[in-house]
């Protein structure tokens, strides 16, 4: 079932197909990384079940590397894993199929090597690697009516309704964002398909959209990156914007950073970025669950 929202922009959502996909909670990784200063560290990395840091908590400051929010889900067969990666959308509902946490409900919260699924702490306490999780995949192919140059990826239709905040008098779409990144912030993830994985961003270059002051980043924040075109592969292009959701924490390695799963990309003159401290996926999740 789609999450409830107040107003949905006109889209082709009624023609989209829902597919139930299943994957397995993956084990956690210990990442061996070398910092720009040349120091080698081994830190908790991606994968596994993250129980101490939740959606809405700080994205930086933890002793970790590419920390993934919630439970990280993959499929052991490469082609099925790719389908899980491409078809699942941020905001989709998920359910635990196995183990003592079943049938706890969660929500897709991002993409990296694995699919990240947020669960309430009570469920996370009982989920372990190896448990199966089903995802109600819905949103691949989503298109805003009459907006040919606005391209969506990994975006549940209900999430799109929450993300967009009406239109400006000049017709630009208002997008709620918590932080904005300059063109220099983009790192690893460039050249990769925008419907999978994410783009690493240098957290030191995050700014409040209204004041231009440094922004504290939280997992789940909706953020925008200047001069990024994510229609197909993630790339630099002057005059374009990419909007997405932060789904993994900072990295100790240079060229890596907080990870933004792409939701939307458009020429900058089609969007109006509106600073909103509540532009965090946790707000959408709570509203949808209410």
């Amino acid at each position: 079932m789609s999450m409830p929202v107040a107003t949905e922009p006109p889209t082709n959502a009624a023609r989209l197909v829902r597919t139930r996909l299943a994957g397995v909670v993956s084990p956690a990784s210990a990442n061996a990384v070398v910092s720009p200063a040349g120091r080698a560290e081994v830190l908790p990395g991606q994968g596994g079940v993250l129980t101490s840091v939740q959606l809405g908590d700080a994205a930086t400051g933890w002793c970790s590397d590419h920390l993934e929010v919630g439970a990280s889900v993959r499929h052991p067969e490469p082609a099925a894993d790719q389908a899980l990666q491409v078809l699942a959308c941020v905001g989709n509902q998920a359910v635990v199929l196995d183990g003592p946490a079943a049938p706890a409900r969660g929500m897709v919260a991002g993409k990296h090597g694995a699919l990240m699924v947020a669960f309430p702490p009570s469920a996370l306490a009982l989920i372990g690697p190896g448990d199966r999780v089903a995802v109600e995949a819905f949103g691949a192919g989503l298109q805003l009516t009459g907006e040919d140059r606005v391209v969506l990826h990994s975006c549940d239709p209900a999430l799109l309704g929450w993300l967009l905040d009406g239109t400006e008098p000049d017709g630009r779409l208002r997008v709620r964002i918590a932080a904005q990144f300059s063109r220099e912030a983009a790192g690893a993830g460039l050249g990769m398909p925008a419907s999978r994985f994410n783009l690493d961003l240098d957290p030191a270059l995050a700014r409040h959209p209204a004041t231009g002051t440094a922004a504290d980043l939280r997992l789940g924040d909706v953020v925008a990156v200047v001069d990024q075109d994510h229609r197909r592969g993630r790339r630099f292009r002057s005059g374009w914007l990419a909007v997405g959701v932060l789904c993994h924490g900072r990295s100790a390695a240079g060229g890596h950073g907080v990870g933004m799963a792409t939701l939307l990309t458009a020429p900058a003159d089609r969007l109006s970025l509106a600073g909103d401290a509540a532009a965090n996926l946790r707000s959408f999740w709570l509203a949808a669950a209410a």
Partner: protein, 284 residues
């Protein structure tokens, strides 16, 4: 020798035109260092023959890739000289591993006699090479033979490297965040490439970019690379440069060319019996 491989289409281009072009692995007879990149229709095309060192067919770098340096000699299994290492491509990514290839510049008459699957030997030397007068400069993928060819000068206490193109940090695309010894860094910005037409073997500099511990944006640093593959057709991809050195701007700077090592690498590869190299004092 690596076979040519066909990989599932990547992200493609925003124009929607699929890229059905050769470039990954195999032997590209007739393609050489010094050629203009625009001369050939390819996708990530490297000159000459491609070498990989994972016998199981798995992508990802092996120890030959990790140790090989530009200018290293490559021999056939019987010991005959084939050519020299002239480039790297590949990398790492979550969920998939692209191929990790070495390019071998070699005369056409030798390229015509080799075949994918054949075993070759790479005489790897260069790991650990340092400039004793410039401890802050990090050399990557540089053999002693290549070091002798680099167009460098001492200028006000800094090492000045001649380059064909001077690129902003945001021109760096695929390859950011990865080890400078693995593969290459793509130049993914048409605006930055609008100036000089690049040739295989040209040196380029990335401003505000460090490559000492991975390739990443770092204000006040400079990274220099050698152009080793042609345009990549997908978004975020482009011509690729194998990093050769990086360091703080206080020790390393880039100046406008001439900066093509292509002809010298062709000459190095064709040398019938390479003379024993006598180390120079500056890199002893």
């Amino acid at each position: 020798m690596a076979p040519a491989r066909w990989h599932a289409p990547g992200p493609g281009t925003a124009g929607g035109r699929p890229a059905l072009l050769p470039g990954c692995g195999g032997v590209a007879v007739g393609v050489h260092m010094g050629d203009e990149l625009g001369r050939w229709l390819g996708d990530h095309l490297m000159p000459g023959a491609c070498v990989e060192d994972r016998a199981d067919g798995q992508a990802g770098p092996g120890s030959v890739h990790m140790l090989a340096c530009l200018g290293n000699r490559v021999r056939s299994a019987s010991g005959d000289l084939l050519g020299v290492v002239a480039g790297k491509r590949g990398g790492l990514a979550p969920g998939f591993l692209p191929p990790s290839l070495l390019a071998v510049e070699a005369p056409d008459e030798r390229l015509e006699r080799i075949c994918p699957g054949e075993r070759v030997m790479v005489e790897t030397t260069g790991r650990g090479l340092q400039l004793t007068d410039h401890p802050g400069i990090c050399l990557s993928n540089v053999s002693p033979a290549l070091l002798d060819l680099l167009p460098v000068q001492e200028r006000d206490g800094r090492l000045a490297v001649a380059v064909t193109a001077w690129l902003p940090s945001w021109a760096a695309g695929s390859g950011v965040g990865q080890d400078a010894w693995i593969g290459d860094l793509d130049i993914a910005d048409e605006e930055a490439l609008a100036g000089p037409s690049l040739r295989y073997g040209d040196l380029v500099a990335f401003q505000d970019f460090d490559s000492s511990a991975g390739r990443f944006r770092r204000p006040g640093y400079v990274s220099v690379g050698l152009v080793c593959h042609g345009p990549g057709r997908g978004d975020g991809h482009g011509p690729g440069a194998c990093i050769v050195m990086s360091g703080p701007a206080a020790e390393l700077t880039a100046v406008p060319g001439p900066a093509s090592l292509g002809p010298q690498l062709v000459e190095l590869a064709a040398r019938p019996s390479p003379p024993q190299r006598v180390p120079k004092e500056r890199n002893a």
